[in-house]
């Protein structure tokens, strides 16, 4: 009994005198995807070694749930340190004070390609750091062009040519001329916005006025209607990746898609080419929708300052280049650099993805982006299925968008 008593006393004394290690303030990171990119893994390790009091702890979440999880946690009052989100959500997050601003210096802004900084800017402040960037270009199947009697080395330059070529392919080969995707899915809106930005159109202006109902956008919607009969049957059943699978199977003449499609095409027997997106009648030059994902820093975590520092660290040019060059994500580079020039020279298929940036536009920033998305999808589907005429659909959508801006 005495021994037990003595041992207990020693134990208590030791427990009281042993200094406990201070707990580190973790920066939790909701990382979208099914694996952490090797470049990020390497630099997270380096950050953690240099900042043992503020280690970054990434949590992998699948793309489908990623954004909802970060949002729900923030809304429930237990936000993560940083998260990878679509830049389209920044206005909604900022207005609801869920995230903190991440202002850029003029030097930082100037390092990006034109229009990129606008995708993360709201009320003249930057609310996220761009980390992923996607543009689109037009792929064409040269075999189908040949089969249809078209010049396989001459892709369409304008919408009129694109519709005409699609019609010819459909009529001559029986295969779809164009891969129009219009499923109830977010990229249905994205696909349409590529047409908007290749005709100098806009959805919302800098003063928050809805300008969807414009001649430029009407022309885009009319082009959608005109190309539908020559596209894959049942466009409303397919989203862009499903349509890409049909293109990779050699069943579609033309498709607007990201650079990752070029990587996949290398593994097929298809003779293909890729060029700038065809232009509408009011286009000023090559355009594209510029989709960026950003790292955002959530408010009320107690580590905002260090999280901001990390967000800038992990997206600094040297690390970002390494991430983009990995090729796993199929990303368009965010900043011009000699390395990008070398890449375009080595693989010319990169060129149209960079060309479109000049007159490209961002995803429109709305306070309820899902509301925006639903309205745009409904508008596109009503035209594609023939249940509404382009002008009526456009006017109806423009009115509906007032609620979500």
């Amino acid at each position: 009994m005495n021994t037990l008593f003595r041992t207990s006393l020693i134990g208590i004394a030791l427990a009281g005198t042993t200094a406990l290690p201070a707990l580190a303030d973790e920066i939790s990171w909701i990382y979208c995807g099914d694996r952490i990119d090797p470049a990020h893994e390497k630099y997270i390790g380096e950050w953690n070694a240099a900042n043992p009091d503020y280690p970054v702890v990434p949590e992998l979440v699948g793309w489908a749930q990623c954004q909802d999880k970060a949002t729900t946690l923030a809304a429930a009052g237990s936000p993560v340190g940083i998260a990878y989100v679509g830049s389209r959500t920044l206005k909604e997050f900022a207005l609801n004070e869920l995230i903190v601003p991440v202002p850029m210096t003029e030097e930082e802004k100037a390092a990006y390609y034109p229009n990129i900084v606008e995708t993360v800017t709201f009320q003249d402040t930057q609310w996220g750091v761009p980390i992923a960037f996607s543009t689109k270009a037009l792929y064409w199947n040269k075999d189908l062009f040949k089969e249809a009697g078209l010049d396989p080395e001459t892709p369409p330059k304008t919408w009129a040519e694109e519709i005409e070529f699609a019609k010819t392919i459909k009529e001559k080969t029986g295969k779809a001329g164009y891969g129009l995707s219009a499923k109830t899915f977010d990229n249905t809106m994205h696909q349409f916005l590529h047409w908007v930005y290749t005709n100098n159109g806009k959805v919302i202006d800098a003063e928050d006025n809805i300008v969807l109902d414009s001649p430029q956008n009407l022309a885009a919607l009319q082009a959608y209607k005109d190309i539908t009969p020559w596209s894959v049957e049942g466009a409303t059943a397919y989203e862009q990746n499903e349509m890409r699978a049909i293109f990779l199977d050699g069943q579609v003449g033309m498709l607007q898609a990201a650079v990752s499609t070029a990587f996949l095409l290398k593994d097929t027997d298809i003779d293909w080419g890729v060029t700038d997106l065809p232009l509408g009648p009011d286009a000023q030059g090559p355009g594209t929708l510029m989709i960026t994902d950003s790292l955002v820093v959530f408010a009320d975590t107690g580590v905002e300052e260090k999280a901001t520092e990390f967000a800038k660290y992990i997206t600094q040019p040297s690390i970002q280049e390494e991430y983009e060059a990995g090729g796993l994500a199929g990303l368009t580079p965010l900043r011009p650099s000699p390395a990008v020039d070398a890449m375009v020279e080595a693989d010319p298929y990169w060129k149209p993805f960079v060309d479109g940036i000049e007159f490209g536009g961002p995803e429109p920033l709305f306070t309820d982006y899902k509301g925006l998305q639903n309205v745009m999808i409904e508008m596109v589907q009503s035209v594609v299925t023939g249940s509404a005429e382009p002008q009526a659909a456009l006017t109806k959508a423009a009115e509906a968008l007032e609620e979500y801006k």
Binding site: A75, V232, T236, A237, D249, Q251, D368, N374, E378, S387
Partner: protein, 294 residues
């Protein structure tokens, strides 16, 4: 008196964990949802009470269409499950060679993880690579690919068929069990009297299975009304909202648009409908129980 009181206390002590569990897991979220439905809760940090505004807002033409669509979707899905389940049970109950093998073959839709089953159907409905479109073309029924999920009408029926495929095994097995509990001598007596197979089914099987049919219908109704996964994976409520049921609409508003208050109001309406179904279920089962005793 003391003994009965201590027995009463003991009984409550035994029940306490279950009661606490139900209060935390079921009652509290329900009450919280009801409270939220009277607020403008969203991503904003402040929450204001807005009275009946959310309810006034949702009872517009669109939501009434969604309610009607939900009832039609549920009706056909439950009806088909009951009819096919009954046919399946009759076949599995028949003395045919290999009956046990057929019983096993009934189970895959139930055993396969639901999401995988739904993705499988999604591929079958695909116009370009799908089996159904391929077969229709091969037999010359259609002259080109048919994307079943591309059009409102076909997408609506496609989601019902998938729901039926997933739900039928349970109904079949339940009906089979009920069928096997019917005394054999009733059939023997009827057969001796010269009753045909159809007459025996109509006069013996169906009446004696009525409690099982009603119970299964009610349970299936409740589960089907709330069916989310199938529609979400196949169509996300599209095209043009043609497969949007109440539960899909609620998810889109509450989680998609982060209008938690409006979403909660929709959830309360669903809850009210389900409560009515449950009430009907309990009344029917009580009546059946009384009839059994009589």
């Amino acid at each position: 008196m003391t003994s009965s009181r201590s027995a009463w206390v003991f009984a409550w002590l035994l029940l306490a964990p279950a009661i606490i569990y139900v209060l935390i897991i079921v009652a509290w979220p329900l009450v919280e949802t009801f409270r939220l439905s009277f607020t403008d809760a969203s991503l904003r940090k402040t929450v204001n009470y807005v009275g009946w505004r959310n309810y006034e807002k949702i009872f517009n033409e669109t939501f009434l269409t969604v309610i009607t669509r939900t009832f039609i979707w549920t009706f056909f899905s439950v009806l088909l499950k009951m009819v096919i389940g009954m046919c399946g049970a009759v076949m599995l109950n028949a003395a045919v060679p290999g009956r046990n093998l057929f019983r096993i073959l009934t189970m895959p839709p139930w055993i396969v993880p639901m999401a995988i089953g739904i993705f499988m159907w999604g591929w079958m409905y695909n116009g370009q690579f799908g089996m159904i479109s391929g077969l229709l073309q091969r037999f010359g029924i259609v002259d080109g690919p048919v994307a079943f999920l591309a059009y409102g009408g076909s997408a609506f029926w496609a989601t019902i068929i998938t729901d039926v495929w997933i739900g039928v095994p349970m109904v079949t097995i339940y009906f089979l069990a009920a069928m096997q509990a019917i005394p054999k001598d009733l059939y023997e007596a009827a057969w001796t009297d010269g009753a045909s197979r159809w007459t025996r089914f109509r006069r013996i099987t169906l009446p004696l299975m009525a409690p099982a049919i009603i119970t299964m219908s009610m349970l299936s109704l409740i589960a089907t009304f709330n069916s989310f996964d199938i529609i979400w994976i196949l169509t996300q409520g599209g095209p043009s909202g043609q497969t949007t049921t109440m539960i899909i609409d609620t998810y889109q508003v509450a989680i998609g648009s982060k209008k938690y208050g409006e979403g909660a109001a929709r959830a309360v309406v669903i809850c009210l409908f389900l409560s009515l179904f449950c009430l009907a279920y309990f009344r029917v089962t009580r009546r059946l129980h009384t009839m059994d005793k009589a």
